[in-house]
């Protein structure tokens, strides 16, 4: 059974929570007691309808203000697969939580209110979807009921969107458009008869058609960050030495020649273990234990790669940074860079350009990066990292930035 991870972006006003409520309701994923609780909560708020947004806005502050502040994760199954929705905030000031929620998604659903059309928020959401290399973007034009299900309005929005997206769009990105009304359930799970001019599938139909692993793991280079060395030293396993980790990209077969980075020492894969099973091969996202024919020095943070397909060892990196802290990033300041599981000290050498994500205003050669700004940054590192270009290999091309003093995750980087 596979899992499809989706991120929805938009504010409550766009009908995002109602949309999720609909999806859950029509796939029979809301239980009776939860519906009862929703009814009671809606009544307490003095509403004469059942407010489906109360289902996902789980924090007191969110319910008070009627906005989404942090990501909520919601789960449902269809007869085909398991779905995980990261319901992310649309408000500008919580953009970092949106990035958090969307970072694992294979599909991003961007909601547009049919009355308001393409706005600042649409542009920001699409920009972030592209930044995170999300391959499938579904643009749902919601509240079609309020524009009399008019095709002309839908086409207008579609044109506006493509005008904006052409500049930001990635070559391999699929963008699908759909007109919906989440309040009335039009085009959500079944096709609507209100919009005969729309020839595509329902929203769920579109989602069911997406393949989660659209990149074949066989074509990507094998990257295995060593998490933990397993040395039981028990009588039975006295000489056992296994390298545990989750394959970041590509695949590995028993007998393959591998090199350990940074030492470059080589050996052959003796066994690929999953608990007591010995496998012939394993591919990206699998957690395994690898044993080698030779005893070479490998510790946490090192990486196993296939001989002949090695990443460049980098002590100086250029990356696109999204800054998530109220304290700005500054040129000359030291941070910790965590690439996968490998943590190294880093210093900001320069910020070559900066983009303000609320206004899309660009500037060059700046000395700091503020909350919700994106910059092209160059870092000096205290030790090597084994990263690939993020666009070419997203599984091994991102890192987080940690503030050494308050321990917070303050930024995310995409290696260029």
């Amino acid at each position: 059974m596979d899992i499809l991870r989706i991120a929805t972006a938009g504010s409550v006003d766009d009908g995002k929570s109602t949309l999720i409520g609909r999806l859950l309701f029509e796939t029979q994923s809301i239980t009776k007691d939860k519906i009862e609780a929703l009814k009671a909560a809606s009544q307490r708020k003095g509403l004469d309808f059942v407010d489906l947004s109360l289902l996902t806005d789980g924090l007191i502050a969110e319910r008070e203000q009627g906005i989404t502040i942090d990501v909520a994760h919601i789960y449902f199954n269809t007869p085909t697969r398991k779905y995980i929705i990261a319901d992310t905030p649309g408000h500008f000031e919580y953009t970092r939580n949106m990035v958090t929620g969307a970072s694992n998604a294979s599909v991003s659903i961007i909601l547009i209110d049919a009355r308001n059309g393409v706005g600042e928020q649409t542009r920001r959401h699409f920009y972030i979807s592209s930044l995170l290399e999300i391959k499938n973007v579904v643009v749902a034009v919601n509240k079609m009921d309020l524009v009399h299900y008019a095709e002309s309005r839908y086409d207008e929005i579609k044109n506006d969107f493509f005008e904006l997206s052409d500049k930001l769009r990635k070559p391999n990105q699929n963008i699908t458009f759909i007109p919906i009304s989440s309040l009335y359930g039009e085009n959500i799970v079944v096709k609507s008869d209100k919009m005969p001019w729309y020839s595509g599938e329902s929203l769920l139909g579109i989602l069911e058609g997406v393949t989660p692993e659209d990149i074949d793991s066989a074509v990507l280079p094998f990257r295995f960050p060593v998490q933990h060395v397993i040395r039981p030293k028990s009588e039975e396993y006295h000489d056992f030495r296994g390298y545990s980790g989750k394959i970041a990209s590509g695949q590995i077969n028993k007998g393959d020649m591998v090199a350990a980075l940074p030492s470059q020492q080589m050996s052959k894969v003796k066994e690929i273990l999953k608990y007591t099973d010995s496998l012939d091969s394993a591919h990206q996202t699998e957690s395994v234990v690898i044993t080698l024919e030779d005893n070479i020095d490998i510790s946490r943070g090192n990486m196993l790669v296939k001989v002949g397909a090695q990443p460049e060892l980098k002590k100086q990196i250029n990356a696109r940074i999204f800054w998530m802290d109220t304290e700005p990033m500054k040129v000359g300041k030291g941070y910790l860079v965590q690439h996968g599981i490998n943590r190294v000290k880093a210093k900001v050498a320069s910020i070559d350009s900066r983009l303000e994500i609320s206004t899309f205003e660009e500037s060059e050669n700046v000395d700091e990066l503020k909350l919700n700004q994106i910059g092209e940054v160059s870092f000096k590192l205290a030790a090597h990292i084994f990263a690939d270009n993020f666009e070419a290999n997203p599984g091994n091309g991102a890192f987080i930035i940690i503030d050494e003093f308050n321990n917070n995750t303050v930024g995310v980087g995409f290696v260029k």
Binding site: M1, D2, I3, T31, K32, D33, K34, L55, T56, D57, G58, L59, I60, A61, R63, I69, D70, V71, A72, H73, I74, Y75, N77, P79, T80, K82, R96, N97, V99, T100, N104, Q227, H228, I230, R231, P232, S234, Y237, G242, S244, G245, K246, L273, K274, Y275, T276, T285, E286, S287, M324, L336, G340, I341, A398, F399, I400, N407, N408, T409, V412
Partner: protein, 300 residues
Amino acid sequence: MNINKQFPRALEDEAIFILREVAAQFEKPAILFSGGKDSITLVRLAQKAFFPGKIPFPLVHVDTGHNFPETTDFRDKLAAELGVELIIRNVEDSIKAGKVKEETGKYASRNALQTVTLLDTIEEFKFDACIGGARRDEEKARAKERIFSVRNDFGEWDAKKQRPELFDMLNGKIDLGENVRVFPISNWTELDVWNYIKAENLEIPSIYFAHEREVFDRDGIIWSDSEFINKSEDEIPYKTIVRFRTVGDMTCTAAVSSTADNIDTIIEEILEAEISERGARIDDKRSEAAMEKRKQQGYF
């Protein structure tokens, strides 16, 4: 075969990755273990993550003294079989020490009192990471929680200041005195847990299966009769066939009327259930924000 009866293996890979990060990033982690199905799942995952090595964490149970004997017996047995250290701390002792006060009235429960004992246990053993079996599908405040959830010196959760958690990169860096709650099965649903128990052929306490029990009705819920619950005169116990869908303390866990006496019938029942799992948790019914408020104070 119905796809909803298959366990998605990607969830196991994710959980094992998280457990290995805990072993690598922290000095003194522990598994919070109640003997319930979610913590049994956690223990299995830990066993797989470090095999052929041993589970590198002790199991910690905060015992309210009001637990089902079937669960505590199971807890002791499993720890002994695995050869893992089991640390038990009792709410009773916190009450005797005057740190908390027993609740009174009809709904008196020691469930909320656990928090104090848990925080004291964390301090006593200097645990820097506590691994728990909470899942995001259980309750809407939990749906907001990160996988590595940082708590301050007082064990408090600040929902508005959660660390961004991107891709699968986990930041467990903390200051001395702080600790992290770790939730490796965050993305599992109740159904996923049951499908896993079946796929792995895991043993679970008998109270999850249909059995005859002395119960009484209150607020449309079936309560298991016990000396720990203050019954009113018109609450008259009777015998019937029930099972437990979620297992907490006897004062906060309701039974469900069911004849499901094996794992397959349980899975069928959950697929068709009209009531959610935590619908049987009396502790969540106190108010809409009951869980969030308890979490702020350090509840697990």
